[in-house]
């Protein structure tokens, strides 16, 4: 199996707090991997270190594109990371609230477009073509995510579940080969979670991308993921298939007192 993401000995400290403490992690092509752990374990911090929002204190992060280019991500800016092909969503939804749903997705297309200021002012044939294409593509993405009836709605006026989906749609618009989802099912009801399950499977199968997902809903996690990583206090304490992880005593101990949603 060829790895698309290789994390070795990743460390991040905030003052004296070791939010991440020597984490190793790999994700293969077209794989769905779940990252679980109690609140405050360092999962979101890991995402932030991977995507360049935080600069890791130590260790290395590398991604390998489907074409086989390997890039070391340490110290790269978030926008660079995204344009290299790793996109993410946020635990607390971060949509562009006062822009329309379509515009949110169009922003996702930004890094795959080229028009600059002269193009914008002159509006030459190339720019017009690009604009038309981006509207076209964005609309199609919205259709895929069943968001097309909201096209001109402000993002802030969408129902909660739709906002979560829009965040994924927007991330997908950047054409990633690796997608990071931070608690995508948080706050969703059973039906919405079920839809999300289908959506993620569909994404993996149709778009051939790898997905790393943080989630607390164990039913979703076990049904979706090929492998599970468990972190606690910034360390990886277990990894394996859902069946292996679920009966691992270390994991059960880490979750003791902490409820596992079934």
């Amino acid at each position: 199996m060829k790895a698309v993401l290789t994390v070795t000995q990743l460390t991040k400290t905030f003052g004296g707090l070791h939010a991440l403490d020597g984490v190793d992690l790999t994700i293969g092509r077209n794989e769905i991997v779940a990252l679980i752990g109690p609140n405050g374990a360092g999962k979101t911090t890991l995402f932030n270190c991977l995507t360049g929002v935080y600069i890791p204190t130590g260790g290395s992060v590398e991604i390998t594109s489907p074409e086989g280019h390997t890039t070391r991500l340490n110290g790269l800016k978030p926008d660079k990371v995204t344009s290299l092909g790793m996109a993410r969503t946020f635990q607390n939804i971060r949509l562009f609230q006062n822009m329309t749903v379509l515009e949110n997705v169009m922003i996702g297309r930004h890094c795959r477009m080229h028009a600059g200021i002269p193009g914008a002012i002159l509006r030459n044939a190339r720019t017009r073509r690009e604009e038309k294409a981006v509207i076209d593509d964005s609309y199609r993405i919205l259709e895929n995510f069943q968001l097309d009836r909201y096209v001109n709605e402000f993002a802030k006026n969408l129902p909660y579940g739709a906002q979560r989906r829009l965040e994924i749609a927007r991330a997908m618009a950047t054409e990633p080969f690796l997608l990071l989802l931070d608690e995508p099912a948080a706050g969703m009801n059973a039906q919405e979670t079920k839809d999300l399950d289908d959506l993620i499977v569909r994404l993996r199968n149709k778009e051939e991308i790898s997905i790393l997902l943080i989630e607390h809903d164990m039913k979703l996690v076990t049904s979706l993921s090929d492998r599970i990583f468990v972190v606690d206090y910034g360390r990886k304490i277990a990894e394996g298939t859902p069946a292996e992880v679920c009966c691992n005593p270390v994991v059960i101990k880490a979750y003791l007192g902490e409820e596992i949603d079934a």
Binding site: D79, T82, E103, I117, E143
Partner: protein, 417 residues
């Protein structure tokens, strides 16, 4: 039913008591400064009691209005939280309806084109100044309204443009038409130079740093006599010539007027196109959420810098015209408060809305000219406008609307502004 209870709330005894308290409070508050005028040299005191009455009456009445507005605002927030559709107000609906907006545009065009034929030299002058502010405010609108960067040193770029023309003319006898693009280019250059180090700062610090840069530029112009001729400024800056001809005074003013109309139209054209482009969307996204914006692959620094520098370009060009029109410039025209006035135009009209900003700049520049009484209280009013707009209507008089796209059936796409 509800109407009666609302009246009761508005004029009930409780409300009157509150207003009375407010009234007494403000009479106390303004007492020394409004009423007592001490002259320590002539050893006299002037008591201006009548003012206390005005303050009291004003505070009493305004406090009803204030509470009513606050209540409406809070109700409005609740409505917005529940409503699916963002509600648009009458003005916006009118403007987006072509049956109204087309004739309105035609009337506006006709008005501005025939203006010099109808009105006196004095009026033409005033309108020209107002148009300079329109252009400059539209430039600031890119920075503040679209990209959400509060630039309090904006007038520095205006000064750069004005001094570019004045100095190049004094030293090298360069003409207006050469200096106009040079002024714009230097504005851009300064925008990049000043913007680069400061744009990674958080919003409020950015505002203060730009204020600092603005004041530095003004103070340098004031003190560096060899370069800028100091506080006395530069006089006898030539007005623009027309194909090498020297024009008579009246013709010349008319000429500058049309030139400004042209520049305004050009600015509106460019800003509209920028707003509705890849870059323009990135600016707005950056204003909405920087972190999400970067996660979408947008280079934060470059995007901010482009907004900052393009805004500065327009200030630079506006400055050149300003110098040519007034024929005299000195550093005193470029204080921080000038930036605040331009900001006020943007805020009043509606951040991010082109029509709004044009209207805001025209209103704020023309009103003081036509109402002399108003002109004395000009700055007081500007301050009040800033506070009230932020409290009650942060989106401005004519708030910006997002572009609506129509899709007829699957895959048949058509964008409609």
């Amino acid at each position: 039913m509800s109407e009666i209870s609302e009246h009761k709330i508005l004029f009930g005894w409780e409300e009157i008591k509150k207003s009375l308290l407010t009234c007494i409070w403000f009479m106390f508050l303004t007492f020394p400064i409004m009423v007592i005028q001490v002259n320590t040299i002539h050893r006299t005191v002037e008591w201006r009691w009548e003012r206390l009455f005005f303050v009291g009456a004003g505070a009493f009445l305004l406090s009803f209005l204030w509470r009513y507005m606050i209540r409406r605002k809070e109700a409005g927030i609740k409505r917005e939280e529940t409503a699916q559709n963002t509600h648009q107000d009458l003005l916006q609906r009118l403007l987006s309806n072509p049956r109204f907006s087309r004739p309105a545009l035609a009337v506006a065009v006709l008005f501005f084109l025939t203006f010099p034929l109808v009105f006196s030299l004095y009026q033409i002058d005033i309108m020209t100044t107002a148009l300079i502010y329109v252009v400059v405010a539209l430039g600031l609108n890119i920075v503040v309204g679209l990209a959400g960067l509060l630039d309090l040193g904006y007038v520095a770029f205006f000064a750069v443009g004005a001094y570019t023309y004045a100095l190049l003319n004094v030293h090298f006898q360069l003409g207006f038409w050469i200096c106009l693009p040079i002024g714009g280019a230097l504005g851009f250059l300064f925008g990049v130079l000043l913007g680069f180090p400061v744009l990674r700062l958080r919003g409020d610090y950015l505002a203060i740093v730009t204020l600092g840069f603005g004041e530095i530029i003004r103070l340098v112009l004031e003190n560096w006599n060899e370069f800028s001729f100091g506080p006395s400024g530069i006089a006898n800056i030539p007005r623009p010539g027309f194909m090498g001809m020297d024009l008579a005074l009246h013709q010349n003013h008319t000429y500058i007027y049309y030139l400004m109309v042209g520049l305004t139209v050009f600015t509106i054209f460019v800003v509209r196109r920028l707003q509705d482009s890849r870059i323009g969307r990135a600016w707005t996204a950056l204003r909405e959420d920087e972190i999400a914006c970067q996660a979408m692959g947008i280079n934060k620094t470059r995007t901010k810098l482009s907004a900052f520098a393009i805004g500065a370009t327009w200030a630079g060009m506006g400055g050149v015209v300003f110098a040519a029109k007034t024929t005299f410039i000195n550093p005193a025209s470029f204080t921080i408060w000038e930036s605040v006035i331009i900001l006020c135009c943007v805020v009043l009209g509606g951040m991010g809305s082109i029509i709004g900003v044009v209207a805001g700049a025209l209103v704020l520049k023309l009103l003081p000219e036509y109402f002399r009484a108003f002109s004395e209280y000009r700055m007081l009013v500007f301050g009040t406008v800033l506070v009230l707009m932020m409290v009650f209507r942060p989106s401005g008089l004519i708030s910006s609307v997002r572009r609506v796209y129509r899709f007829e059936g699957r895959n048949k796409l058509e964008g409609q502004p």
